[in-house]
């Protein structure tokens, strides 16, 4: 056993209100520089939808992630020789048009325009060329189904649905969508790391954060293609790739990453997971339908003495082990089996997990009224059976969150429904004990567990949501240099402006 610690994440999709506060918090700190205007290390997309960059999930187009073959796993993008031979032109690299051309407005013109018959306007100006431009796409162009005939309909995950189901999704009054906030997943088997010919992308041993060395990057731009989530970005100005750093400078002083800290819906949880690194390859190579289970299995019980001993032997600090034992992520992912990895079939073992959204049950408007007739006649039945009547077909959610295995996501949903019914029975009348017991049985849960899930879902404190010790950078670097000196001199980052080379 090779036990390592990983700072991991859970996003509770039922709680996301799609406000984009997270994206803006991140942008203001990290990507407001030249060449990064188009980058959203954190973005929130509407699902169904094509997302950012457009149809990023289509790996036939972008070749991100891994494929399983006779020899085990290989990158979809290239083999080693192929990678080097494509350095001069990477056939699968998205271009700026797959994201959008960043722009600003010529505000000065509003003040300087000569007197005339018409009001002056501020034209859109490209932030790349500085020339006036037509805006044809932008961040969240298809937010809340904006332009859905062009965007949402092209969501690759919709392939799993029947014509009828597809039509239903956008039918007036039955429209359904939810938000999917995305950051770098800090995967256990990252595609970006494996694809980088220069070896500039790496995973930190102590906490599993995936970083990209700006000094080693030579703009071979294979990481952009290798990451199936398209969460490495190419800075067109400095000629270096960049990515989400999980706000490691904040983590090192015990603060939550900016997108977590600012999240209005409080959907985000951060905690430590212990995992067995010797099983990474084997885990990523199981058949699609077993991927989620294998992923759960690689995560180790932080209270198991053997695991603790193995972690200690690997230099995992006591503070980390302690955090792993209190980890909200461990509870959501492993203990309660509610949170699932996004697109496990990309086989990068992402360490950001999503609790699937419940969404309203299916009903139609009849004679101008919300028709929930079944609900009236069968009392609670619609609540119990809401999984079958879910507006968002289970197959769609399975494609997103359980590599197509509907049983896995259904189990997660059944437990969520049990929580709902149980908690409802405590405050609303008319729910028979038999119904509650049935819900608990189907959801494979107990009143104690339900209470705990409810507590961590609905009423967690800041300290319960973010359980990561200060990452102890000083202890990690003291072998190399005096931490006090480091603190005084540099902190993180460049001591010179990161300007483009000649």
């Amino acid at each position: 056993m090779d036990v390592r610690a990983q700072v991991s994440m859970v996003f509770h999709l039922d709680k996301c209100i799609g406000c984009h506060t997270c994206s803006v918090a991140c942008k203001n700190i990290w990507t407001d520089r030249k060449g990064t205007e188009y980058m959203w290390w954190n973005n929130v997309e509407t699902k169904p939808g094509t997302g950012y960059p457009t149809v990023w999930e289509d790996q036939e187009k972008y070749k991100g992630g891994w494929t399983k073959n006779e020899r085990g796993l290989s990158l979809k993008l290239h083999g080693r020789v192929g990678g080097l031979s494509n350095l001069f032109h990477n056939p699968y690299l998205p271009t700026v048009d797959d994201y959008y051309e960043p722009w600003t407005y010529d505000y000065e013109h509003l003040f300087n325009a000569p007197e005339g018959d018409d009001q002056p306007t501020a034209r859109a100006v490209s932030m790349i060329t500085g020339k006036p431009m037509e805006i044809e796409a932008g961040p969240n162009w298809d937010d809340d189904y904006g332009g859905s005939p062009i965007y949402a309909e092209n969501d690759p995950n919709l392939d799993a649905l029947t014509e009828e189901e597809r039509a239903q999704l956008t039918e007036m009054e039955r429209v359904v969508f939810f938000y999917l906030p995305r950051i770098c997943n800090h995967c256990l088997n990252p595609g970006c790391v494996a694809a980088c010919p220069a070896g500039s992308v790496y995973k930190r041993g102590e906490d599993g954060i995936v970083l990209l060395s700006q000094e080693k990057c030579r703009a071979w731009r294979m990481c952009v293609s290798g990451c199936p989530y398209k969460k490495t970005y190419y800075n067109w100005s400095t000629g270096k790739s960049e990515k989400c750093i999980l706000c490691y400078p904040r983590l090192e002083s015990g603060q939550a990453p900016a997108c977590f800290h600012s999240c209005v819906g409080r959907i985000r949880y951060l905690g430590v997971l212990l995992y067995d690194a010797s099983r990474i390859e084997a885990t990523a190579a199981v058949p699609d339908r077993d991927l989620v289970d294998a992923h759960r299995a690689i995560i180790q019980d932080p209270r198991d003495p053997q695991v603790i001993a193995a972690a200690r032997a690997n230099g995992v600090s006591d503070a980390m082990i302690d955090a792993a034992q209190k980890s909200p992520v461990y509870r959501f992912v492993k203990q309660w089996r509610l949170a699932l990895p996004l697109h496990a079939e990309f086989r990068t073992l992402p360490m950001l997990f999503y609790v699937p959204p419940m969404l309203p049950v299916l009903a139609k408007v009849k004679d101008g009224r919300y028709d929930n007739a079944d609900a009236a006649s069968t009392s609670l039945a619609p609540l119990l059976s809401s999984l079958e009547r879910a507006r968002m077909p289970l197959r769609y959610m399975a494609k997103l969150l359980s590599a197509g295995n509907e049983e896995v996501i259904a189990a997660s949903y059944r437990k969520l429904i049990a929580v709902r019914i149980y908690m409802r029975s405590k405050t609303a009348s008319g729910i028979s004990d038999a119904e509650v017991q049935e819900a608990l049985r189907v959801g494979e849960t107990t009143p104690e567990e339900v209470e705990a899930i409810f507590q961590l879902t609905a009423k967690p404190t800041f300290e319960e949501r973010f359980v990561v010790p200060p990452l102890g950078r000083e202890a990690a670097i003291e072998a190399m240099r005096d931490p006090l000196e480091q603190k005084r001199e540099g902190g993180f980052g460049f001591r010179k402006a990161p300007v483009r080379g000649a």
Binding site: R80, A198, E206, A476, V499
Partner: protein, 224 residues
């Protein structure tokens, strides 16, 4: 006098500056070591320019170096008439590829506003010098046949004499001016090397062929 300036002093100066400045740049400004790819801004034309350019120029450079380092081997190689023909024809084809590719790259930079926006003065200088250099090379190959052969008896002994620090210019001074320009052009490119994006050449990531596919860096373990 001019001969020693051009064929002795200039090569030495160019190489010294190239090596020293590349090291200085690497140590003080490693961030600037990059191929500065513009594929993200424009991909299609880049394909038609960059691929022929690189796949043309790398084997040609390789052949120049091979004949320099192993003149005996090269001599044996071209001793057979058939092989000589094949080499000359391949070389010429590759040379044409470099010229066409580079010309396309230049046109792309001029015509695409996005790429133009990230093009520096040094980029222009480098592009022009390289274009002239490969054009001269192609011309030499076309007009002065059997370069694979006479290169062995002119440029190679001259370069080797430079390497031995016993410069002998008589091997090259009598050559036609086009050939001489091509030789000087080579050293001009070397001189430009540390000041332009050409530095990406020495960072070609061969280690990708054998490094472990996943990279994990431990802060503490680094110290053993």
């Amino acid at each position: 006098m001019w001969d020693s300036v051009l064929f002795v002093a200039f090569p030495y100066v160019a190489i010294t500056i190239a090596i020293l400045m590349a090291i200085v740049r690497y140590r003080t400004d490693r961030f600037s070591y990059s191929s500065l790819s513009s594929q993200f801004l424009e991909s299609r034309a880049l394909f038609w320019g960059s691929v022929p350019w690189h796949y043309g120029v790398i084997p040609i450079l390789g052949a120049h170096l091979l004949a320099l380092v192993f003149p005996g081997f090269w001599g044996d190689l071209i001793a057979d008439e058939m092989r000589l023909y094949v080499l000359e024809v391949t070389g010429l084809a590759l040379a044409l590829m470099t010229v066409v590719g580079l010309a396309l790259l230049i046109v792309r930079r001029v015509r695409n506003a996005r790429v133009l926006a990230v093009t520096s003065t040094m980029d222009w200088l480098l592009l022009v010098v390289l274009l002239v250099q490969v054009a001269l090379g192609t011309w030499v190959a076309l007009v002065y046949r059997w370069g694979s052969d006479w290169y062995l008896h002119t440029a190679v002994p001259w370069l080797l004499s430079l390497l031995r620090f016993e410069p002998q210019t008589q091997y090259v001074t009598a050559l036609p001016w086009v050939v001489k320009l091509h030789m000087l052009g080579g050293f001009l490119v070397i001189l430009l090397f540390p000041f332009t994006r050409l530095v990406h050449l020495v960072t070609f990531p061969v280690t990708y062929l054998w490094r472990p596919i996943q990279v994990v860096i431990w802060n503490r373990r680094a110290q053993g």
